[in-house]
């Protein structure tokens, strides 16, 4: 490839990327706007909260238990090198509340709900269900997309809170019940060490992640090529791009919140 062609191709991709980002932003703004203007689709919203939130509950709880247990184990050995096993509770709680809770919950929801959001919308596009809505004078973005994005924003903080509680419980199980850290120290130190900003930071992250996952997965599904391969490819892309975006956003938010 000649240099000129190379530059041209990079330039075109750059423009494509900027164009896609712009479109996705308009898509998000419209979806949010339709979501918060009447007539409200309350039933659709509840269905979606069930789908994104309730159905992710089991996997989030399982992830949280084991994450908490591993943190208990690792934390215990690290802290005991300095003879400060008593700090285990605060170490576990801070890691979970500030980082692991929001991030792992969002990654789990991406895998469980995000992929099927993309596939569902892609298939609706492929089988002309989206056009059918349009023909029936029903705004497809308002009907299909808005409830999913709102449900993502509502579900993630709740799932994250559950993750945090269960994860701290997992740490307790290993640290206190198995390795013999005193219960008073585990919870007592935790109450001292965890500050309001930590909880607030985790909460902000979980909302941001909820928005990112549902936004990316809806957008990619909505504009998937309307063929079987197109939808399959879109589903993979949605999971990969959401996951990476969560991690990048996590760094950005952490540096802003610290």
């Amino acid at each position: 490839m000649s240099l000129e062609n190379f530059v041209r191709s990079v330039g075109r991709r750059g423009l494509d990327l900027v164009g896609t980002l712009g479109r996705s932003l308009i898509f998000l703004i419209l979806s949010l706007f339709y979501g918060i203007t009447p007539p409200f689709k309350i039933r659709r919203l509840i269905e979606q909260i069930k789908f994104i939130g309730v159905k992710s509950l089991i996997i989030v709880i399982i992830t949280a238990v084991f994450t908490g247990m591993v943190l208990g184990l690792q934390g215990y050995y690290t802290l005991s090198k300095f003879g400060s096993q008593g700090l285990l509770g605060s170490a576990v709680a801070l890691s979970i509340i500030r980082e692991l809770g929001p991030v792992l919950t969002a990654l789990m929801v991406t895998g469980r709900a995000g992929s099927s959001i993309t596939a569902e919308i892609g298939i609706m596009q492929m089988t002309e269900q989206i056009k059918a809505l349009d023909m029936m004078a029903v705004n497809p973005v308002k009907y299909v997309v808005s409830p999913k994005i709102l449900a993502g924003i509502i579900s993630l903080p709740i799932l994250t809170a559950i993750f945090d509680l269960v994860g701290i419980g997992g740490g307790y199980l290993v640290g206190v019940k198995m390795l013999g850290v005193s219960e008073g120290a585990y919870f007592g130190e935790m109450v001292h060490a965890v500050e309001w900003v930590d909880v607030y930071g985790g909460f902000v992250k979980s909302i941001a992640f909820g928005l990112i996952v549902s936004w990316i997965c809806c957008f990619i599904g909505y504009f998937a090529r309307p063929t079987t391969e197109g939808v399959a490819e879109a589903t993979t892309n949605a999971v990969v791009i959401s996951s990476v975006s969560i991690l990048v956003m996590d760094y950005v938010l952490t540096s802003l919140l610290l």
Binding site: E128, Q129, K131, A132, M135, A137
Partner: protein
Amino acid sequence: MITVENVIKTYDGLKALDDVSARFERGKITVILGGSGSGKTTLLRQITGLEMPTSGRILFGESDVTQLRKKELFELRKKMGMLFQGGALFNSLSVYENIAFPLREHAKLAEATIRTMVKMKLELVGLRGMEKLMPSQLSGGMMKRVALARSLIMDPQVVFYDEPTSGLDPISAGVIDKLIKDLNATLGVTSVVVSHDIVSAFNIAHKIIILYFGKKIAEGTVEDIKSTEDERVIQFIEGRPEGPIPFSRSDKDFFEDILIS
């Protein structure tokens, strides 16, 4: 009722519609015929405002579909019904909920009224008693009939049918043809039917429009079309493999293509 004027639609350089003009009369059945890929579905999408043409005008009564705002377009669409090629039923909703969907969205009706209306439409398409089934449990023919019931639930003035009989067994196809005719005869529903089924077209059409690679090559009554001298039209009607319409789309010679590669 509907006038299409010099409509061109290009998809990334491909001219799916090339300067098409046509009229669809109120209360008549107009059939758009053409091979697959000739732009039939594309034409329906432009007429209904689902897509914007690259250029040209589309008049629906007095209003130009290409100039309407979303809200006005939605008002217009409440008077239209569309039967999509694959039915486009919502997978997550039962037959009953699919058909009731437009009513729930646009009319505040008691459940009893909705039930009666859904039953009436199901009776019309010969599927009464299937309310509880999900789309995945239906055969292709049944899906199309449910979709037809859904597109008729708001009692539209104009109904667009995208290949209503393709992929159906002859009896189901006959049932659908008869339905289209009856709806037109009894309720005066203006009908635009996209099809590549010549027999069915001759059977139901008041007027036929033939598309060929995005261009309109014929327009007229069944008699006009039957007595045409246009070789392309004759070849299409008789379904002959040889003629001015090439079977292969490649302009390269077959042997040349194989030998050189």
